[in-house]
Subunit: 365 residues, 2 copies
Amino acid sequence: MDRGKKPAGIKDVARALGISIATVDRAFHDRAGVNPKTRARVLAMAQKLNYRPNLAARNLKLNRRLSIAVYLPEQIHSFFTPLLEGVRSAADSVFGVEMDVEYRTYPRMGEGDLALLESIPDGRFDGVIFTPGDPAKSEPVINRLSRSGTAMVCVASDAPHSERMTAVSVDAYVSGALAAELLGHTIPRSGSVAMITGELHVLDHAEKLRGFAANLALLAPHLSLLPVVESHESPQEALRQTRNLLKRHPEIAGIYVSTANSLPVLRVLEEQQLLGKVQVLCTDLFPELIPLLEGGRILATLYQRPFAQGKTAFEILLRYLVERIRPERATRLAPHTVFRSNLPLFADRVRSKARVTSALEARGA
Amino acid sequence: MDRGKKPAGIKDVARALGISIATVDRAFHDRAGVNPKTRARVLAMAQKLNYRPNLAARNLKLNRRLSIAVYLPEQIHSFFTPLLEGVRSAADSVFGVEMDVEYRTYPRMGEGDLALLESIPDGRFDGVIFTPGDPAKSEPVINRLSRSGTAMVCVASDAPHSERMTAVSVDAYVSGALAAELLGHTIPRSGSVAMITGELHVLDHAEKLRGFAANLALLAPHLSLLPVVESHESPQEALRQTRNLLKRHPEIAGIYVSTANSLPVLRVLEEQQLLGKVQVLCTDLFPELIPLLEGGRILATLYQRPFAQGKTAFEILLRYLVERIRPERATRLAPHTVFRSNLPLFADRVRSKARVTSALEARGA
DNA sequence: GTAAATTTCGGGAACGTACCCGTTTTTAGG
DNA sequence: CCTAAAAACGGGTACGTTCCCGAAATTTAC
């Protein structure tokens, strides 16, 4: 069906003024070689006739191809797989823009990401979506590429002091704050709570701690915060530290695990028969967590919506590349609080774990 | 920047086989007049050369224009304004597809929506996004338009027994379930809770009740559910009913208001000095709710994410119109649980209330 | 005043695809 | 084996835009 009068094209404007198409084109694009008066007349007529450039024709003629790189870690699988799917989903639903997307992965954050970024020559890509492992060390590369005109988009993590164009992530402070408020609401009597995190020198984790501590004091004054436990994302370390924590504070009323690596902590709680007695808040969602939520063994998990992060990052990047609309310095998504009752809405996507392939791919769109 | 080798075009395939472009085109489109063997060779070569149709060229040649209607109520303002913004946002970020979008609004659900739909001639639009007021009464129009080839997309509400293509809304059952679980977690002692809804013959509200009742029994057996209160979306009725409720059950421990029209209920609670003592859960987010959440007077609100609903609905519709990808029968979004601590992430969008204009608009994209 | 330099403009090709129309090849029928 | 009909295929144009190149108009220089 193609009802609806088509808006005026460049040749309609030319005909209305009795001038050539070439001149109208020059006027529209502020190119040299057109009399200022003529230009004014053209613009006025364009306005009057409601001129709309036919983007299909423009793209065809210009034949511009966007070149985009997506470099992500494979670990943590349950997080970066859906994130990548989000990027793909957004990339797949682009029509009318020719582009090549190069997907690459590396084992885990901090292992090879820097080398991968550094291998990008100036001007090779129009945009790069990536997760900065060590923000400080990444800065030089990010700045170099940014200055060479490559739009750098951080996702899941951030390098705020670099010259990246924008960053998409979940608001970490709010995650921490939410955890504090939830524990405050669900632990009626006074008691003490603990936070188990990954590495505090990772910005996100530090932010979560800030949010947690501040809001615990504010919204749950009956709860006291024990010293933070850093697991350094190591299962052994997490096991040891958690056992230590529980030995020294057997009366603990709540635990907030602010990293997705929560399984070791949960195992210790399980073996000490504390699951269900201690209020536990986790981070992110993966298959092992589902039965625990369903059984009410843990209160909730703060889902960082990797799919939405990937999708959003790509949309923002594309919008900039096509329309030169500069995004905000950062986009902070709201985490989803997943309880037992709303779990079914999230569990489906998590259960179907697609594999991350390290292949080099390209697609047109 | 336009690095990246362009994929094979139709003429590359033709040249590789030593045949004409026209024949390749016929083969690709299953048109008559091509030898089956030739067709097979063409398809094989296309595969081998990684043929990708240039959508810009195709669109230019076909010159198809999509015609889309978006018919929404103005009331409830705080909900449908962002919903419309979501639609607009999605429509604005479409490149390479020429389309006309006709936005129209009517005062409130049930007032004029049916007439508006009925006024659409067969084949006038490729797709329609709308909110069915009375599902049963809307069915005939929806079916007529659907059969005539118009993709009908329900948003915010649904007409599940009609032949609409798909529907986008928040999962109402889960909303109710979530409310039950939250009250269960935050009310430690046994007590009774009430649900105040709009109209139970509206599918959404009935679903919320189902979810609430079922999960209250399951997850919060210490709470008993009082008879449901129907406010019929009338402020006077809501005031009267709420006063009545509180008089008969002064010991009430929690209230779940499952309609966005929660202000009358809150006013009664305020005047009886119960705000902060009774756990209150609301629905949706509007300016008046913000200070109440900030002050901890109400526990949380179940935000139905109108912006996301609008955006999603448009994306799904466009995807179908362009790529003929049929969506699921329905898309159920997860409501956001907005507490005091994560309120800032939502409050901004709510505070800036853009006006809904009833103008007829068109835009190219 | 004329020639040269400069500005302003128009003609026309090309981007990759779809499709009309005319030409060639194959098949059927006697 | 010839003819006619049908099937298979190729040439060429158009979609709306961009942009090169050359022509025309205008300004500048002497």
